[in-house]
Amino acid sequence: MDIIAYIESGILELYVAGHLSEKENQDVYDLLQQYPELLQEVIEIEIAVVKLTAVVSPHAINFDSFKGKLDFSDTKVVDLKPKKPNWISYAGWAASILLTGGLLWTLNNKNQLEENLQIVETEKQYLEIQIEDAKTNLAATKNLLDAIRDKDILAVPLGGQGDYASTYAKVYWNKNDNTIYLDAEGLPNAPEGKVWQVWSLTLNPLTPTSLGTIDDFNTDDNKIFAIANANASQAFGITLEPAGGSAYPNMEQLYTLGIVASAP
């Protein structure tokens, strides 16, 4: 290759000016790697152009005054940003965490209170039922007392018989409304499979008439039973009979018996 002719062609001046195609640039670059005198030529052209263009500049701007501008675009933006939002976002997060905590606490409190209120409400309802029961009981007891105190009432004590001498009962008989009130407090609970049966008796001849069995004896609280009795009874007896009752009283199991005071 004719280096001198290549240099004289003026291609290297255009290379420095930046007017060659990409392909030509690549070719020149390859040659510069091979021929040091070509590289030297390029460096000299470049120096001449750098000096010429520099003389056109009315003044220089030193790097230090320029650097500030570079720092401004590079570093400052990065530096400034995190500072401000940090404060606000930390405060914001803290506030929202506090608020959430507060809300949860309040909600929890509210649920607890509602639960307590529910318990109190249930207790109140229970107590109301108890009061109602007590009222009913009191009314029933009053009725009973009124019934027993009636001036037309006839009291018939029933004494224990034979082996059952320790038992007793009382009959309050209101002839006006054909009702007897049997106070059987002195009888034991009927054993399993047995039931108390109440009898109205006429004496001459001895004729028993069943007034019925007391099926709820064991569960009754005050052991006072109202029983209809339209008979002209001369005596009352109570026997222990098999469940369901008997047509005739089992005299072996006669617990109590009482004679009605001779009718006035």
Partner: protein, 176 residues
């Protein structure tokens, strides 16, 4: 690897010291090229700094296989300055642009430092033939291609190339 290549490599790796050296080597030239296009000292100051910021930010796009580092940054400078002259605000403020060539600027430049280069170049351009002034102006300052310069100056392409070679040769004789 030459010193310049090493420096450019360091610059591409975001070495600020290397960047400062390259800035010191070329900033005045870039300022001159930009100033010759926009003809305004303040705008030229701003644009020259923009050019170096651009170079810093896209340093990784430069490759020595595509050309000289100076040529690369010279291209950025011409494009940046020409973009500026096309902007609306620039056109409004610069309606009566004087048509001074770099030669006229150098001749009227009172701030030239007392270096022998500056004095020599001033003397050089004063005696420079009209054809040389025009070719150097178009090819180096204005970024005209060989073909564009040939049309502008109504000269064959080959003549542009050889004339340019001899003009730059004269310059080299003075500054080297």
């Amino acid at each position: 690897m030459t010193d310049l290549e090493t420096l450019v490599k360091q610059f591409q790796n975001k070495d600020q010291v290397a960047f400062e050296k390259l800035y010191d080597m070329y900033s005045k030239s870039i300022h001159g090229v930009v100033y010759n296009i926009v003809k305004d000292s303040d705008i030229a100051d701003e644009l020259m700094q923009d050019v170096f910021i651009k170079a810093w930010n896209k340093a990784d796009t430069y490759s020595s296989k595509k050309g000289r580092f100076f040529t690369w940054i010279l291209n950025i400078a011409r494009n940046t300055a020409i973009d500026k002259t096309r902007s609306k605000t620039y056109k409004q403020s610069k309606q009566n642009l004087n048509a001074d060539f770099f030669v006229d600027i150098i001749k009227s430049n009172d701030n030239l430092d007392a270096s022998t280069d500056a004095i020599g170049i001033k003397k050089f351009v004063t005696n420079l033939g009209q054809k040389c002034k025009e070719v150097i102006e178009l090819l180096y300052f204005k970024g005209f291609t060989q073909k564009e310069a040939s049309e502008e100056l109504q000269m064959p392409i080959g003549t542009i190339k050889t004339r340019n070679r001899s003009c730059i040769q004269q310059l080299r004789d003075i500054v080297l």
